[in-house]
Amino acid sequence: MLEKKAEHILWLENIRKVFGGVVAVDDLTIGVEKGSVTSVIGPNGAGKTTVFNLITGFLSPSSGRIVYSGRALNRLRPHRIASLGIARTFQNVRLFPQMTVLENVMVGRHLRSAAGIFFSSALPPAWRREEARIRQEAMDWLEFVGLTGHARAIAGNLPLGSQRMLEIARALAIEPHLILLDEPAAGLNSRETIAMGELIEKIRQQRMTVVLVEHDMELVMDISDRVLVINFGRLIGDGTPEAVQDDPDVIAAYLGE
């Protein structure tokens, strides 16, 4: 049995999530170590995205508890969880398609700025120093993912690879301690997938903890410190990439028994 340790930035204990009759997550207990890249793998419908939705408050667990940095997350709404330093991306990229690339990232600076509706309405942006700062910081994050040249483009017009990069830049802009990436390489070609791997490596160097859900095994095995395998909402494997690759249960689950 796993035990909660001090190094765990995130701890899920006996988490269960039932949709009507479907048990999507079944008594799951996992810990994520601070500063690590932890991958969560498993066949389609295994419950990976559901786990992300539970952590970020888009769903609440049927039972069990989620602890982040010593704080219980149960029942907090998504925007509050973001404010505690957990960022995420979505499996089907969710940008603000009508806004520019830069504006998308500027929204990511929301929690790091303060202007309320009153001041925002009364004074033009050019008079508010905060606006210039938000813009500059957003530019810095665009540079981090290599999208500086597209700053003024409409986000919805970018190719998929750049959209995924942008979504990550936007999530990074909240300066999270923990970032959850849901299949960041899905739909990318091999060159883009390599770039994605490099980006995740760069994120780790920023001392952020990364949890990665991904089907691209090469990417997973390449960059993960630890791999968690789930099937039918249950944890069936947990260890280093090498150990997990050789685990007969895991092989069975992937080959469909």
Binding site: F58, F96, Q98, M99, V107, S121, I174
Partner: protein
């Protein structure tokens, strides 16, 4: 505010300054003053519809509360018109919070339903509470506004005043949409989940914008009361709320300028229709003002079916398509 919006505002101000010199006729000046009231309400409604992605079918009720609060406080209690206008804003803030908070917490279009019910309640109250509102016969002798002892007693003066308020309303709206809060609003319109995942409190923002748009409507109602000096429940039926939504939709709800133009155009439409009446009579069709409602309904239907982003976007697309055809 972005450069082209600033430029637009300057052009608008210059144009407005010239209008009373071009239009000497008080009747048409009056029509334009009414257009200003609608414009102000529609700017607020556009923030709600186009930016927060919510529909209110009861903004006419907030106009009514503004008008009646101003009317009642100035006539029966002898308040100064400005103080009454301020009190109306406070009252509307409270009422909008009561309507908005429970409905905007839910996902979906509950606000539209709640505001529709709310609008009928306010209209019934205006008719039924005879002691307070004068009932169907209305409130008489509402005073005029004056600014620092300078009375707004001519149409020309009231024209400048009401359009100045519209310009301020535009300025505030442009500031808002290009701010941190405005980005949050546009973001939640793009994807509520993504916005929430970045820390935007989407419920709070929807409520705030709803209240803000109600305040625009309230100010517009107060200005209306001080202009006509007489109010009755007639203009504040549910149809008025639908008309306001139509104005915003016609111009294009995703742009403040669109809502602005839609409001002006549809405010002038009855005048255009009455011109048309004369011609229609010549060819043997008797057009009655009662048909206006049919015309508005048809316009809303056509816009929603074929030009959901408003006539200007539609025109823009047509022009682009035309250019491409020529190039080929």
């Amino acid at each position: 505010m972005q450069g082209k919006d600033t430029a637009g505002l300057i052009v608008l101000i210059l144009g407005l300054a010239a209008v009373p010199w071009v239009i000497g006729n008080d009747y048409y000046l009056g029509v334009l003053i009414f257009a200003a009231f609608n414009c102000l309400t529609c700017i607020g409604l556009c923030l709600l519809m186009g930016y927060a992605g919510q529909i209110s079918l009861g903004h006419g009720a907030f106009v009514a509360i503004g008008a009646y609060t101003s009317g009642i406080l100035t006539t029966t209690l002898g308040w100064s018109p400005w103080a009454a206008m301020g009190a109306a804003v406070l009252l509307v803030t409270g009422v909008a919070a009561i309507v908005g908070i429970p409905t905007l917490r839910l996902k979906g279009h509950y606000l539209a339903m709640a505001t529709l019910g709310f609008a009928s309640i306010i209209h019934i109250l205006a008719v039924a509470t005879v002691d307070l509102t004068g009932g169907p016969s209305g409130l008489l002798d509402i005073p005029r506004l004056s600014i620092f002892g300078y009375p707004l007693d001519s149409d020309r003066r009231y024209f400048y005043f009401s359009w100045a308020v519209v310009v301020v309303g535009l300025y505030v709206a442009f500031n808002l949409i290009n701010s941190r809060v405005g980005r949050g609003l546009r973001a939640l319109h793009g994807s509520e989940d993504a916005a929430a995942s970045l820390g935007v409190n989407i419920t709070a923002y929807k409520i705030q914008v709803f209240i803000m748009s109600a305040v625009y409507a309230s100010v517009s109602g107060s200005m209306y009361a001080y202009y006509v000096n007489y109010i009755d429940p007639g203009p504040f039926g549910v149809m008025h709320s639908v008309l306001l939504v139509t104005m915003v939709a016609v111009g294009g709800m995703y742009r403040i300028w669109g809502a602005f133009t839609g409001a002006v155009l549809l405010s002038l439409l009855p005048e255009m229709l009455s011109f048309a009446t004369d011609y229609l009579q010549v060819i043997g069709i008797a057009y009655k003002p009662d048909y206006d409602i049919l015309v508005y309904g048809t316009i809303l239907l056509i816009i929603m079916l074929f030009l959901p982003e408003g006539v200007f976007d539609g025109l823009g697309r047509a022009v682009r398509a035309g250019k491409q055809m020529i190039r080929r």
